[in-house]
């Protein structure tokens, strides 16, 4: 495409610095090979199809029925999955030796399997139900047999008693059944009916009460608790139940009792009155139970086998169905040609994938024996293409940090490149301790070494996040080991790793080392902070001054990098206005103020001057013409400051005014062209579109001007506030080193001082927990967040627009990864 202009002619385009160049392609596919073509394109996964039927509802589309079929199949598969998990089977991804099924065959097969499974389940349920009923029946038989048996034996005993004593005394225990008359003279017996059954235990009291009330007490109820749980045949759940036997007289009472039984969910079973018959019934029922049991077991085995065979294929089928569904979904996005003989697809694809796509189209044509090949052509468009970075597992997590703020505009400079280094670096400035760095390194090495294993299994939320950012943490730990060496802190303890300290006593007696301090006797400590500072009274003032100045220097450097990237953007998009009216004045403004401050800091360090930098900076604005006096750091400082101040003052209107007017002039030029040559105008507008997205056909000068005004104010104020914002580097690094020295001195050294093993062990444990919990977890998190802020706000607002949209291709690998 025309806008393939490299970033600077000298070097090849850098990976990741610009998003891949994209093209809008149109593919005309004959009907007969459409399905296979989309299949092959999905395997490549480098086209993002546009929905050409956006106005149609999902039901009006061409392949709505196929999608419905896919949905139906997915439902069946879900049913199988459910059944399998109920049966305790896991879908094993066995080696798929079977030949690939076609979509239609699979649909038939799934239908068959489903009906077979449903029938089996229904039969199984029926059998199970009658089995449970029989089990209940047997229970009732046994328990009520006990009632009868007990009643009879006690009646006989009483009868004997009565026969011997002949007293009219009647025991309360006398059962109703064994009424003396009934036993003595069966012919006179009032015909008592009885109903036996099972009632849920929690309802048994209410059941009894209602029965009693309904029959006005003309009923005799016996209940026994069944110790083991009984499976209810209706619901299939296990429940606690009581066996009951109700004795009554009369038909009306019977019908009432039956209704009450029904209402209470009490299952009734008829029990023969005669004890002999009862025993017979029990053996009969037991026989049937064992028979049924065998049938059920056989059925279960059969079902298990069926599910097993489904389980072996399940994953493959599931993938196939999802693939088909996505293919039809994509096909639905294509528009149908007027002749109804071919489908027209439009979509974005990276330029580098052209060859691959054409190959796939050819293969599809060949494989589906189509006479006409698919036609592939590149369309010209004014639309903004999607942003696509080819990342690997290392760069991906850094790119995600940037994307979380906003997806890069098409082909704009990607801060992700520098984030790979500067993000862990700024983190480490706040987290400088090589002991903690090593701990972090070990933890992240575990993730990296177990990468293969961990990526396949499911992790918790927090673990997942840590695992995803393992390479970020890896880089962070490496840099914090480095900055830890610079700060000379190992769990807050300094080591003389790089030679002797530069400081020594003034005289051999070291008399005034606690009042006047040590003096520098050797060369400066070659690498990092001199160990002599540790634990001295002047440590904090010294480190504060050092870290504060360091924060400003690092901040100014990073902000300059940001502005330089805006220059590369302007160069890439051939936007001269942005270079001359934005990049140049911004560079001048930032460096005239804060660049100068940085220079002053370095000059002060190198010369050992005692000048007050605050004073210099403040009076540079308040009274620039005054003599500097003792605050003079170098000759000609006054003139330099005047020049810098003036250039900073000039830079502000320079940022504000020229750009809107130049844009206006540019627009008017385009307008003039568009009347003369329509063709050209379209092309130039295309370039225009590329230049500045917020700049459409209608040109609102006031809008542009206000926009520029806001931008200028933001930059001018931002230069101050962003520089101040970098001081968080100082604050957090101070907090970290102070916390770790507190834990070291107040826990570990204190515990050591007691000369007691137990206290020492407790001290060590507390130290470890404090170090891990506070320093390694919480401090890591807070330093991470602050580094994130410095990148998102202070660095990226200098150049990053971040208003693009992500390339989301139609790809099977993405579908497979999705969880259902």
């Amino acid at each position: 495409m025309a806008e393939q202009t490299g970033g600077g002619g000298c070097c090849p385009p850098m990976d990741l610095f610009r998003s891949e160049s994209m093209q809008l392609v149109q593919i005309i596919i004959p009907n007969e090979s459409a399905h296979r073509t989309i299949d092959y394109l999905g395997e490549i996964g480098l086209i993002q199809f546009k929905d050409l039927n956006a106005e149609k509802s999902p039901f009006q589309r061409t392949y709505a029925t196929q999608i419905k079929r896919c949905g139906e199949m997915a439902r069946k598969l879900r049913l199988f999955k459910e059944q399998m998990s109920k049966a305790g089977l896991l879908s094993s991804s066995m080696s798929s030796t079977q030949v690939d099924l076609s979509f239609d065959d699979l649909e038939v097969k799934l239908g068959d399997l489903e009906s077979e499974l449903i029938e089996m389940n229904a039969n199984g349920d029926k059998l199970q139900r009658s089995y449970n009923e029989l089990m209940e029946y047997r229970l009732v038989l046994q328990k009520s047999g006990e009632f009868f048996h007990k009643a009879q034996s006690s009646a006989e005993a009483q009868h004997r008693e009565q026969a011997s004593h002949q007293t009219g005394e009647q025991s309360l225990e006398t059962p109703l059944l064994s009424d003396q008359d009934a036993v003595t003279d069966p012919s006179k017996q009032v015909k008592l009916g009885f109903i036996t059954g099972l009632v849920p235990r929690e309802k048994s009291m209410a059941f009894e009460r209602i029965l009693f009330r309904a029959t006005r007490g003309n009923v005799f109820l016996r209940q026994t608790v069944v110790e083991e749980l009984v499976i209810d045949p209706v619901s299939g759940d296990k429940a606690e139940k009581n066996v009951f036997a109700v004795f009554f007289s009369g038909e009306r009472a019977k019908s009432k009792i039956l209704k009450i039984c029904e209402a209470f969910g009490a299952n009734r079973y008829s029990v023969p009155e005669d004890l002999g018959k009862q025993a017979q019934a029990i053996t009969e029922v037991s026989g049937r139970i064992s028979e049924l049991k065998m049938t059920i077991d056989a059925g279960l085995l059969h079902r298990g086998n069926l599910l097993q065979s489904i389980g072996e294929q399940y994953d493959r089928w599931n993938i196939l169905v999802r693939k088909e569904k996505s293919i039809y979904h994509t096909l639905n996005m294509l528009s149908i040609d007027v002749t109804k003989k071919c489908l027209v697809a439009e979509g974005w694809s990276p330029v580098f994938a052209t060859k691959q796509i054409q190959d796939a189209l050819q293969r599809a044509t060949h494989d589906s024996n189509s006479e006409v090949g698919a036609i592939f052509r590149v369309l010209r468009t004014r639309e903004m293409p999607p942003t696509y970075f080819r990342t690997n597992k290392f760069t991906n997590s850094f790119q995600e940090i940037v994307d979380a703020y906003g997806v890069a505009k098409y082909q704009e400079a990607n801060p992700g490149v520098y984030t790979i280094v500067t993000f862990p670096f700024l983190f480490a400035v706040m987290f400088g301790d090589w002991g903690h760095g090593i701990c972090l390194l070990l933890a992240t090495m575990y993730f990296i070494l177990k990468e293969k294993k961990l990526s396949s299994q499911k992790l918790g939320d927090i673990m997942e996040m840590t695992f995803g950012g393992r390479y970020v943490i890896f880089m962070m730990s490496l840099f914090s080991i480095y900055t830890g060496l610079i700060y000379n802190e190992f769990f807050s303890v300094p080591f003389e790793l790089f030679g002797q300290s530069a400081y020594g006593c003034r005289d051999p007696s070291c008399r005034d080392s606690t009042s006047a301090g040590l003096i520098k006797v050797r060369d400066t400590y070659p690498f990092g902070v001199d160990p002599a500072w540790h634990g001295t009274r002047s440590e904090l003032p010294y480190l504060n001054s050092l870290k504060m100045k360091m924060s400003i220097l690092l901040g100014v450097a990073q902000m300059n990098l940001g502005i330089i990237l805006s220059f590369f953007n302007a160069l890439f998009f051939r936007n001269g206005v942005n270079i001359w009216c934005q990049f140049v004045p911004q560079m001048i403004f930032l460096n005239a103020l804060f660049g100068y401050l940085s220079v002053l800091i370095i000059v002060k360090w190198c010369t050992g001057s005692k000048a007050d930098l605050y004073h210099v900076m403040i009076y540079m604005f308040l009274s620039p013409t005054d003599e500097l006096g003792e605050n003079q750091l170098f000759a000609g400082q006054k003139i330099t400051q005047l020049v810098l101040l003036l250039s900073a003052l000039v830079a502000v209107p320079w940022m504000l005014f020229p750009k809107p007017f130049l844009l206006k002039a540019q627009h008017e030029r385009h307008q003039g062209q568009s009347y003369t040559a329509l063709q050209e105008a379209e092309e130039s507008l295309m370039v225009e579109n590329n230049d500045d997205s917020g700049h459409h056909e209608e040109f609102e000068f006031s809008e542009i001007f206000v926009h520029q005004l806001i931008h200028t104010i933001e930059f001018v104020l931002g230069a101050v506030s962003n520089t101040a914002s970098y001081l968080r580097l100082w604050a957090l690094s101070l907090a970290h080193s102070e916390l770790s020295s507190v834990f070291y001195e107040k826990v570990l050294i204190l515990a050591w001082g007691f000369n007691n093993v137990i206290i020492l062990i407790v001290g060590i444990i507390v130290f470890i927990f404090a170090t891990v919990g506070v320093l390694l977890v919480m401090e890591t998190l807070s330093a991470f967040l602050h580094a994130l802020r410095l990148h998102w706000v202070e660095f990226q607002n200098k150049f990053y627009e971040g208003d693009g949209y992500k390339f989301s291709p139609f790809s099977f690998t993405l579908i497979d990864g999705e969880d259902e």
């Binding site: 070097c11 090849p12 385009p13 850098m14 990976d15 990741l16 610095f17 490149v417 520098y418 790979i420 280094v421 500067t422 670096f425 400035v429 840099f479 480095y482 900055t483 610079i486 530069a502 400081y503 080392s513 606690t514 009042s515 006047a516 301090g517 040590l518 003096i519 520098k520 060369d523 400066t524 400590y525 070659p526 690498f527 990092g528 902070v529 001199d530 002599a532 500072w533 634990g535 001295t536 009274r537 002047s538 440590e539 003032p541 010294y542 001054s545 050092l546 100045k549 360091m550 220097l553 690092l554 450097a557 370095i602 360090w605 190198c606 010369t607 050992g608 005692k610």
Partner: protein, 70 residues
């Protein structure tokens, strides 16, 4: 070791690392450029950090004053 010598060491390390990256994982010009950018950025960051701390200790305005207890 002076400022310049250590700076040269940093430069040397940067150059060696770039050469290593170029030789060990040579994956086309654009990827190599990315690697080079990363190495240069990392080296500059590390050098800046060291240089700042070194320069700050060059001509000390305050000196370590030992605490009373020691």
């Amino acid at each position: 070791m002076g400022f310049l010598v250590t700076t040269l060491i940093f430069v040397a390390i940067g150059v060696i690392a770039s050469l290593c990256a170029r030789i060990c994982c040579n994956r086309g010009p654009s990827t190599n450029l990315l690697h080079l950018t990363l190495i240069i950025t990392a080296t500059v960051c590390c050098w800046m950090m060291w240089a700042i701390v070194y320069l700050a200790q060059l001509k000390p305005l305050i000196v370590p004053v030992l605490s009373e207890g020691e």
